[in-house]
């Protein structure tokens, strides 16, 4: 795979600098180098990386290391805090009081049309706006059709004129139409264009002057590379961009463009596109983005979370039970719930550096199984949980009915319990022979 996990590498370095009381140029050097590579691999702009790492270094040198953290963890903390700060401190709410125009702009294929429909849907639902979508992409074949279809699917009206190529005129007419019909949110979906295309950029300027949108949102593909800052700068110079939308964040791109553009232009990031469905848009979370760009699960947070969640006494009790061979279905449930308390499986996996990539689908599958198991065990009587061997067909059917699942699900839980119990026995055997049950 192209990217090694930053977390793993950092862990190794952290071990080396363990036990030093102060952050110094020497003990930070190797870490900063890794961080630098990782940021570049996340498509953070070269100049931004340079600036960023040197400002982190400046801040960190001489700082006393908190007693609970190693120098490595300390610097990670500084870096993450700094990233979050950079990604969005101010209040980034959209300005949508009264009749509001939002103009969507961006390169070809960045996701403007889909995002337009998503925002219309979102603001109608959350802010009670009455939206009108306006098709201003008169260039790409069938772009207007795409907007019409999307509009229909969410019951939002679309203003368009397939006969005209005069987008300023269409925009003007749309605005008049909206005023007349009582719409209070107009979303102008413009054609994708290159930032260096003078005449098309002028066209956007003209539209903007004509209808004076309160918000001009630049849609940026999360997968875009180093050049995204040039794109954003150009659009901003010509149009005064009021916010960014990061699209396609549901993929595995790390989205360094977000940081680069925010840092170099100051334009706030307002939304993230997280899927192809209309609801798949959310307010931008700087915290999540920072972790994503660093490409590491937040090891610190995991440690904190795990300490809170796992009741040590409870854990000891379970281990003792396992070893004594009286591992009941109840014990299994307790164990599972402890894991559950750590957050969703997906959340946990994300926290663990070096964890193999697991797809969303697989993740959901695992989560679902866990839920089912819980439901099955909860539908059993006390006696059944302690002595699962009494479970015969009629009981199984009752349990299945009780939890709304199939008898096969009940069997699966019983089998799982059997296997775990078997494993415990083997472990016990190994312990007796003086072997470490966890290998090596």
């Amino acid at each position: 795979m192209a990217f090694e996990q930053l977390g793993d590498k950092l862990q190794a370095i952290i071990k080396k600098v363990k036990g030093q009381a102060k952050l110094t140029e020497q003990n930070m050097e190797e870490m900063l180098k890794e961080i630098r590579i990782s940021l570049l691999e996340a498509d953070v702009n070269y100049k931004v990386v340079k600036e960023f790492t040197s400002s982190v270094k400046e801040q960190a040198i001489g700082q006393n290391v908190l007693s609970t953290l190693s120098p490595g963890q300390m610097i990670l903390k500084i870096i993450k805090d700094e990233l979050v700060k950079l990604l969005g401190e101010e209040n980034d709410a959209l300005n949508i009081t009264g009749l509001t125009g939002i103009m969507m702009v961006g390169l070809q294929g960045s996701g403007k049309t889909t995002t337009s429909a998503k925002i219309a849907h979102l603001l109608r639902k959350k802010q009670n706006k009455k939206p009108l979508l306006v098709g201003l992409d008169v260039y790409r074949p069938a772009a207007i059709d795409q907007l019409i279809t999307l509009g229909k699917s969410i019951n939002v009206d679309v203003f368009y004129d397939k006969e005209s190529k005069d987008v300023v005129d269409i925009a003007n007419r749309a605005l008049a139409y909206a005023r007349e019909k009582g719409y209070d949110l107009i979303i102008y979906d413009t054609a994708g264009r290159l930032h260096i295309d003078e005449s098309l950029m002028q066209e956007l300027k003209d539209v903007s002057l004509a209808v004076k949108p309160k918000e001009v949102l630049l849609v940026v593909d999360a997968m875009s590379g180093q050049d995204s800052v040039n794109v954003a700068k150009e659009f901003n110079d010509k149009l005064r961009i009021t916010g960014l939308v990061m699209s396609k964040l549901d993929g595995d791109a790390r989205g360094g463009a977000a940081l680069s553009i925010k840092h170099l232009t100051g334009i706030p990031i307002k939304f993230s596109g997280i899927g192809e469905k209309i609801e798949d848009i959310e307010i931008f979370y700087p915290e999540r983005m920072a972790e994503r760009i660093l490409g590491m699960g937040d090891v610190l947070t995991l440690i904190e979370k795990a300490e809170e969640a796992i009741d040590e006494k409870e854990a000891k009790k379970t281990v003792n039970k396992m070893m004594s061979g009286t591992f009941t279905l109840d014990d299994m449930l307790v164990q599972m719930e402890q894991i559950n308390r750590l957050g969703s499986m997906k959340g946990i996996m994300r926290f663990i550096p070096g964890m193999p990539k697991v797809s969303d689908e697989q993740m959901e599958q695992a989560q679902l199984q866990l839920k089912k198991t819980k439901a099955v065990i909860s539908s059993m009587t006390k006696e059944e949980r302690i002595h699962p061997e009494i479970l015969k067909a009629s009981r199984k059917i009752r349990i299945a009915k009780g939890c709304g699942l199939q008898a096969s699900d009940v069997n699966r839980v019983i089998n799982q319990h059997e296997k775990m119990k078997e494993m415990m026995k083997q472990m016990k055997g190994m312990m007796k022979n003086g072997k470490n049950p966890f290998g090596a």
Binding site: M1, A2, F3, I37, L40, E41, A42, D43, N45, Y46, K47, L107, Q108, G109, S110, G111, Y139, R140, P141, A142, A143, I144, D145, Q146, L147, I148, T149, L150, S153, L194, H195, I196, D221, A222, M223, S224, G225, Q226, D227, S228, N230, V231, K248, D250, G251, D252, A253, R254, G256, A257, E276, S359, D360, E361, Q362
Partner: protein, 327 residues
């Protein structure tokens, strides 16, 4: 003549018929590599670490992966030491050499010909993530093949995105080539089946299949694509004869993950690098070449129907290196 020149002659041996067009099309990204590197050379009287830092910046900002950049710079440094080069100007050629070799060693196929079925119907499958320009590239490719005298049919297999079928249909009408359309939300495999059947009936030379854009992390959609690929294989032996992955030149490091996932699902024979008329350099194709050996065959340089040209490594590398900012 440097190593670069010699290698170029050896590999390309032919005259590049499109080179004039290439120069014109890549005006924005190509331009004055020499000028800019010379400007850099002028500011540095001798080759030192700062000099290499600036070189590194030029390469990284072209979206060439940071590891490859570090390797190329390392190689160049070595060369500088061995040959005792102290004049920055001499480094330029060395650098271009290194990059050229880097791409060349990624695989033997420097050819830009599309693989076609010699005795019968050829099938081309076009895949990629959302918004890279698959449909437009297909129209352009159909135009090229039609000009070569081939009978081309399009199959609109993107039944998911609103307006996608209409988009391809408009192009088909403009080009006057037949098109088989999928109905809304129809299983794309069944659209392909109908398309290929129809192409056989009408005695077509080439069928080009469009597919819905999909992020490479969507397991279900990637499985669907693998199935579409299999259906084509059942219909015509050896089909699809060429699977083309469309990559947007603005793509950053995620491009490698895109290529490897799509390669797993359908195999990838070549890349169409789109949107090269902007200021992006598409340096990610070097990483893709290194990791997966996939060659680029075409680049898209505009929105017009004939804005698709054969990939030319030499021109590309010169274009790639022209990011240097004047100070």
């Amino acid at each position: 003549m440097g190593f670069f020149g010699k290698l170029k002659e050896k590999i390309f041996g032919k005259n590049n018929k499109q080179s004039d067009k290439y120069v014109a099309a890549l005006g924005k990204s190509r331009s004055n590599f020499a000028d800019k590197l010379n400007a850099l050379a002028a500011r540095y009287r001798k080759v030192d670490e700062d000099y290499f830092d600036e070189l590194e910046e030029i390469l990284v900002e072209a979206d060439i992966g940071v590891k490859i950049v570090m390797e190329i710079i390392e190689e160049t440094k070595k060369e500088v030491r061995l040959s005792n080069i102290s004049d920055p100007k001499e480094i330029n050629e060395t650098l271009v050499d290194k990059m050229f070799v880097y791409y060349a060693k990624g695989g033997d196929d420097m050819d830009t010909e599309i693989k076609l079925n010699k005795d019968g119907l050829s099938v081309i499958l076009v895949v990629g993530v959302n918004g890279v320009g698959k449909t437009t590239s297909i129209a352009k490719l159909a135009n090229l093949l039609k000009k070569e005298g081939k009978k081309v049919m399009l199959v609109a297999g993107d039944t998911f995105r609103a307006g996608a079928v209409e988009q391809l249909e408009i192009w088909a009408n403009r080009l006057d080539v037949p098109i088989i359309k999928g109905k809304e939300k129809e299983d794309p495999s069944s659209v392909y089946y109908r398309g290929v059947e129809e192409a056989k009936k009408q005695n077509m030379d080439i069928v080009i299949c469009d597919s819905a854009g999909r992020l490479q992390t969507k397991v279900n959609l990637m499985n669907e694509l693998a199935k579409m690929h299999r259906v084509l294989g059942k219909e015509v032996e050896g089909a699809p004869h060429e699977v083309m992955l469309v990559i947007d030149a603005t793509t950053g490091q995620n491009g490698v993950l895109q290529a490897s996932s799509f390669a797993k699902a359908t195999g990838i024979d070549s890349i169409i690098l789109t949107k090269m008329d902007g200021t992006s350099k598409g340096g990610i194709i070097l990483s893709i070449r290194e990791e997966l050996g996939i060659p680029v065959k075409y680049i898209g340089v505009g929105e017009k129907i004939d804005d698709l040209i054969e990939f030319d490594l030499e021109n590309y590398i010169y274009g790639l290196c022209s990011t240097m900012e004047e100070e």
